[in-house]
Symmetry: C2
Subunit: 310 residues, 2 copies
């Protein structure tokens, strides 16, 4: 799966993941209106609106990007109905041959992490049979528990040839409160990054590990340092666009082979039509606006990377 | 809700929470057999077995304890069907007037933590209406993101008079890899504990805060130090029983008022019939065995606390 990711990145020339994080306020009224007409202003109605919105976005971007990253919280907030829309979305993305990164940020003690790993990346045994509960290709994982909390994910990934991205330095403003604290003179995120590199040795692909890292686009200097600490880890980079990151900030997250990082944008793409720059599309053509935003993001990142090579 | 928790602890004289973490291997064959007969060896079948198992446990312990703590991973591993059993379980526990602590360990950047908070503790707006997705009374939260990731939970808790328990020092063997690292000469878990005390001021009950902490029974010395750092935080203490914690280890997690901590046991109670000590109950009477295990746990903890007062 890590090889599929690098192959698809090379093929699309777009180290981009589209964050499918649909908030109702992003969804055009013709979609919510139709969903509420059918299901009422209910959790089912919200879930239907989310699904129809996602489907149209995916139909318009699947040939441009290697991967999507649905943020499960945006579905989970609508309870069971929302999670059904999450599952439907990820199944549909896989039909379109997109790689699905489940942004679930789970992590717990060993036996519990094992249950999350099985539910999201593996198969659960029921009597003599086994079933995949959610079946993403990759998942994001929280490192706070240490090795016990990570190892069960790696074990399942080895069976399934799947991968994880472990939170190292997150994109949010307060991420430094704990992550930047100095341990033996070095920030905690570097200590976590070193562990990611070690854990990564347990499940290597050809040149990159199945164990990647999350490092926010909003902290480019830290990204540069972490790139060196974890040379074989793919870095999933949130925080581009709406959170403030730009292509020029991102070059040092990549290795010299032009690989090693994949940049996420969520509302900057899926709600592009709500920005001045793409307003001409109007809400009816929200998905074409998303496509244009993907193309602009790709050009921004690739020209920054090309600039580096000169 | 924090007052309801302390009132119920006083009334039951049992600072105990039963962890409803049903793995299929804990469920007696007469229950799985019946569920598989009705739904096949399917995810629905597993979910039905879990629900029936939980219901019988709850029916046998609800008068003895103030609270239950379903671990969502144990349900999520069965996908949507598992999560339906999670929801059914928590609704049933609330009918029985048990306080429900959703052991979800969520946490993310601000807008995403808000979605988790809304989905598990609050209400989500759909058009002109609003709905509770899961509706637990408390939830566990991961602190790795810092204040941005915590504040949305506190905001929702203030609206709903609900609470959270933030991971400080977890019970698992490798929790020290990051949590024990020294920051300015002090372990990270103490730094997190200090933040919990600060965050707790944002949402105080009468004498305890709605913002509590998770500290593992397996680290009693650290519990003692954290008790002092967070005097107004309720401490949720996992790791009793199966993970190795004993009543005598727990006294310093409590304040001198005999309050301030609530101790969780999961498989030590729900799978008590599989232990030599309760084997006489047999698998048919698994729920009576669970009741006996709760009574023994209560006596172990209360006699340790009484011993301290002498």
């Amino acid at each position: 799966m890590i090889r599929k990711l690098t192959d698809k990145i090379k093929k699309t020339n777009a180290p981009i993941v589209v964050g499918l994080d649909p908030m109702l306020k992003y969804i055009p009224s013709h979609i919510t209106g139709k969903a509420y007409e059918e299901f009422g202003e209910t959790l089912e109605g919200a879930a239907e609106a989310i699904w129809q919105f996602n489907k149209e976005i995916v139909d318009n971007i699947y040939d441009l990007v290697p991967a999507v990253k649905p943020q499960i919280a945006m579905y989970e907030q609508f309870g069971i109905e929302g999670l059904k829309a999450f599952k439907k979305t990820l199944d549909y993305c896989k039909e379109k041959d997109l790689i699905v990164i489940g942004d679930i940020k789970r992590g717990d003690i060993g036996s519990t992490s094992e249950a999350y790993a099985v539910g999201h990346l593996g198969k659960v045994a029921v009597g003599g049979k086994s079933y995949a509960g959610f079946d993403e290709d990759f998942a994001t994982v929280n490192p706070y528990f240490g090795t016990d909390g990570i190892k069960p994910f790696i074990d399942v990934c080895k069976q399934e040839k799947k991968g994880i991205f472990i939170l190292v330095k997150t994109s949010n403003p307060s991420s430094g409160e704990f992550q930047d604290r100095l341990v033996d003179g070095r920030p905690l995120y570097e200590i976590v990054g070193e562990k990611v590199a070690q854990w990564g040795e347990l499940h290597m692909g050809d040149s990159y590990s199945y164990v990647g890292a999350v490092v926010g686009a909003t902290y480019p200097e830290m990204g540069k340092a972490l790139r060196r600490i974890m040379p074989k880890a793919y870095i999933l980079v949130p925080g581009y666009g709406a959170q403030g990151g730009k292509g020029a900030d991102l070059v040092d997250f990549f290795n010299e082979d032009g690989l090693g990082a994949i940049v996420n944008s969520s509302r900057g793409i899926i709600a592009a039509y709500q920005q001045g720059k793409y307003a001409e599309y109007g809400e009816k053509c929200f998905a074409e606006a998303a496509r244009a935003a993907v193309e602009d993001m790709r050009d921004d990142i690739m020209s920054a990377l090309d600039g580096r090579k000169v």
